[in-house]
């Protein structure tokens, strides 16, 4: 019964990755920017080759074992799955920790556009194994951006070299989404460091036995600091602190491990700071600016979580697709002969529906993440200040969408992959159930879907009198103009145009209501607004892909099956998802207040 096929799962489609990079998102265009001048298509392709091989040959084969044997918590320390001892150095050796960073910190300044696609293979292969790398890289980048030269030498350099790992330590038992309630305290010590005390919870990768040390990027409140998020400061707090040339215990104890249903290779821990009054932290950046600094890591992490979601849906989609091609069951509706051989699952229309839906979610979501990553590249390295500002605006707008869509719709795709497997899918003998468990975290961590929807509707689309939304509208307009020229079906183009116009009109209306002070009425439907926006953003990506597919077919590309598949997925999105736009717009516009007026005792 064991799924012997698992080892041939491609994780992501190589063809799709090449399509997104070179036919849809113009990765070669990035080479014209001075920051990326040392790269070429050849370096991109060689890097992708190495990464996908590591993913397929090393990370994927250990996934089931790491899921089955989560880290253990004994005598105050975490022991991870022994496979991590060889996997982590392999990830580090490829140069992944600082691939996108500058030369000065040992990086290779690879565009995030390319890195995101490469990392998606690793995530699809083994989400937990990648998690260690992603967290360390993000934590080191925080120190690179805001740390003193001393902190960079002591902590960042070792993290980028793969000797120490990193975490982000924000959440506390009483303060998850509500960071304003963080209570971990920091008091100034005579030696210039700070003494920390408090408890953090759900700290991913908070301890391990494969790296020498862990550095927790910790939010804490300096004694006497104002209440709320404005009183939070950022500290680097290592498990072991350097003292007179050696590493000594820094009084950060693992107080417990969470028993998780997914992402089981990466421990989620309770950390207790300063039980002996000897926990030292090093302030990163100015005091009371912790949360805004932390947002650098959080925004990067949100894009990473979006990729996690796409990757987890992708590996399950490919598993379900292969299963539906091999597994025979029943006969076609018109076959009258009960002794005729059974047909593959894929012959059944409803199975094809489920697979096309997964394809549309996975490849549409991946395209959105590539677009978002490209904006991050342009926001940092764009040619002119105006280019950078424009890219940054759109990046900020799309980040909550790129984080949430893959998590929410990816979960649905993962459920469909189980469904395609039928009763076998509901058994632990097949791997699809594990990806369903893994996926669920993505709508929870790094800001829940609810938080993301408030960020989008309450902040991002409203900021600067809707400046970011205008950029979005222009970009969709550009894609539409190209699509019409390429001969993409006018009805699809019209549907996207209508959808965007409706979203813009709705947003203006909601903006007016906000100014009139009806925040409760407007934000009550933030989740619906985020869903609406996601459908349109992914619709935009499907039209961009349809446009590239039409171009390829027009120039006589022999790979017609690939492009026809793209066009079917685009058609599917327009007809089943964009068609839902008017209903969602009406809901967001309405004063529908069913759950708002529910009293607790009515539930």
């Amino acid at each position: 019964m064991r799924a012997v096929r698992a080892s041939t799962n491609p994780l992501l489609s190589d063809r799709d990755v090449a399509f997104l990079l070179y036919e849809v998102h113009d990765a070669p265009g990035l080479l014209e920017l001075p920051a990326f001048a040392e790269h070429s298509r050849e370096t991109f392709d060689l890097f992708l080759t190495s990464v996908r091989r590591l993913a397929r040959e090393a990370l994927f084969p250990t996934y089931r074992a790491m899921d089955a044997e989560p880290p253990s918590f004994r005598e105050g320390r975490i022991r991870v799955h022994p496979a991590m001892r060889s996997l982590y150095p392999q990830l580090v050796e490829l140069g992944l920790l600082n691939a996108t960073r500058a030369r000065e910190v040992g990086g290779q300044q690879l565009p995030l556009t390319v890195f995101s696609l490469a990392s998606a293979y690793l995530m699809a292969a083994n989400l937990s194994a990648y998690g260690w790398l992603g967290l360390t890289s993000g934590a080191a980048h925080l120190l690179e951006a805001f740390g003193s030269p001393e902190l960079k030498d002591t902590f960042m350099a070792r993290m980028y070299r793969g000797e120490w790992t990193g975490t982000m330590a924000l959440t506390e038992p009483q303060a998850g989404s509500s960071l304003a309630d963080v209570q971990t305290r920091a008091s100034a010590a005579a030696d210039g460091t700070w003494r920390l005390s408090g408890t953090k919870i759900f700290i991913s990768g908070g301890d391990n036995d494969f790296a020498e040390n862990v550095v927790h990027m910790t939010l804490a409140r300096i004694e006497g600091a104002p209440a709320g998020t404005r009183g939070l400061s950022l500290f680097a707090v290592p498990r072991l602190r350097p003292e007179e040339g050696r590493l000594v215990d820094n009084d950060v104890q693992v107080a417990g491990a969470i028993h998780k249903i997914g992402y089981r290779g990466l421990p989620s821990l309770v950390l207790s700071y300063g039980e002996r009054g000897d926990c030292r932290g090093w302030l990163v950046g100015p005091p009371h600016r912790g949360l805004s600094l932390m947002f650098q890591m959080m925004n990067e992490a949100r894009i990473m979580v979006g990729l996690n979601g796409v990757a987890t849906a992708s590996v399950a989609y490919h598993e379900a697709l292969a299963y539906a091609q091999e597994r025979t069951q029943g006969r076609t509706l018109t076959e009258r002969d009960a002794t005729a051989p059974q047909v593959p699952l894929l012959q059944h229309a409803d199975v094809r529906r489920m697979l096309l839906r997964q394809k549309a979610i996975v490849e549409g979501g991946l395209s959105l993440l590539v677009a978002t990553s490209r904006l991050a590249d342009l926001a940092t390295h764009g040619d002119t200040p105006a280019d950078r500002e424009r890219a940054a605006l759109l990046l900020e707008l799309l980040t909550p969408v790129a984080k949430t869509f893959p998590a929410e719709k990816g979960f649905e795709a993962n459920a469909l992959a189980v469904q395609v497997h039928g009763g076998y899918g509901y058994s632990s003998e097949y791997p699809v159930e594990a990806w369903l468990r893994d996926q669920k975290l993505n709508s929870i961590h790094e800001g829940t879907s609810g938080i993301q929807s408030l960020d989008l509707l309450g902040r991002k689309v409203m900021a600067g009198s809707g400046a970011a939304l205008r950029v979005f509208q222009e970009e969709v307009g550009r894609t539409l103009a190209r699509a019409r020229r390429a001969g993409v079906e006018a009805a699809w183009c019209d549907a996207l145009q209508r959808s965007v116009d409706e979203v813009v009109a709705l947003t203006h209306e909601l903006g007016m209501k906000l100014m009139e002070g009806d925040a409760d009425g407007v934000l009550r439907h933030s989740a619906h607004y985020l869903e609406l926006f996601s459908l349109v953003a992914v619709g935009w990506q499907w039209l961009a892909q349809a446009c590239a597919a039409r171009d390829a077919l027009a120039r006589g590309d022999a790979d017609t099956g690939f492009y026809e598949g793209k066009l079917c997925a685009a058609q599917y999105w327009v007809h089943t998802e964009l068609s839902r736009v008017p209903a969602l717009v009406a809901l967001c516009r309405s004063s529908e207040d069913s759950y708002a007026k529910m009293k607790p005792e009515w539930f």
């Binding site: 370096t43 190495s50 590591l54 140069g95 691939a99 290779q108």
Partner: protein, 265 residues
């Protein structure tokens, strides 16, 4: 020491390979290419020897300009320089070995390490011809005991190592009845089997470094080699499609069919 290794460009085995309707070759569209896996093992073995004893690895490939991709890949793995013999047409194994012999004469390596065969034509001839042309000793099918090496095993008992005086190469060979260890005076030709090592992945820093490593271009004419093929491929045909199997009701029927239809027992 100096080690010359080969990096032939071959179709990726994961690609769908189809014979063209004329039967003159395969359909190139939609194919992916990579370094011949046996050659990749040769590159890795060369890099490990040089890491231990010092020196440099020179990687050679023969073909049109597209083989620069494979050379660049080997450079990204860590090879020090590349030699590209620019020739777009068909080549038989004798011509390939003759070209390599000329490159060896120019580069004067202590060892030439080649894949024992390439996964496209599976000929298993070039290494042997090369040793003959050069008048060197040869140790083919270099292998090792462990099928999958752990980090600890890596380098502990390599399948290819130098003798104590550094003048000979000691090679563990895979032979029909197990493993045989041979010692060959250098310079020598070694060909690699699949179990010799697990090649490294090219790292991103390695890929960037490879950009500035030199690729020297040579031609068959410049090397003075007549590459007119003596072996000509007349026709290619795909293997016959497999017929569906049948289910037999019991063991007796199976035995009967094996005896009387298949006539194998």
């Amino acid at each position: 020491m100096k080690i010359l290794v080969t990096a032939k460009r071959v179709e990726d085995a994961e690609s769908k390979i189809r014979v063209n309707p004329q039967g003159t070759g395969i359909v190139p569209e939609g194919l992916k290419y990579k370094i011949n896996p046996f050659d990749e093992i040769a590159v890795e073995e060369g890099l490990r020897l040089v890491a231990k004893h010092g020196g440099e690895v020179v990687v050679v490939s023969i073909g049109g300009k597209e083989v620069q991709e494979q050379l660049r890949h080997a450079l990204a793995m860590g090879a020090h320089k590349a030699v590209w013999v620019n020739h777009a047409g068909a080549l038989d194994q004798l011509a390939i070995a003759a070209l390599l012999a000329k490159v060896v004469e120019a580069e004067k390596p202590d060892l030439a390490i080649l894949g024992k065969q390439s996964i496209d034509d599976d000929q298993n001839q070039v290494g042997q011809y090369l040793a003959e042309f050069l008048g060197w000793g040869q140790a083919t099918f270099a292998s090792k005991v462990e099928s999958l090496e752990s980090d600890a095993e890596k380098g502990k008992h390599p399948g290819v190592m130098l003798s104590a005086d550094g003048k000979a190469v000691v090679v563990v060979r895979e032979v029909d009845n197990g493993l045989a260890t041979v010692e060959c005076q250098m310079p020598a030709v070694v060909t690699t089997d699949l179990r010799l090592n697990l090649p490294r992945y090219a790292s991103l820093p390695g890929i960037m470094k490879a950009k500035s490593k030199p690729i020297q271009e040579l031609t068959p004419a410049g090397l003075g080699v007549d590459v007119t093929p003596k072996v000509v491929i007349q026709k290619m045909v795909p293997p016959p499609a497999r017929k569906a199997g049948i289910k037999v009701p019991d063991v007796a029927t199976l035995v009967d069919k094996l005896k009387n239809e298949a006539k194998v027992v």
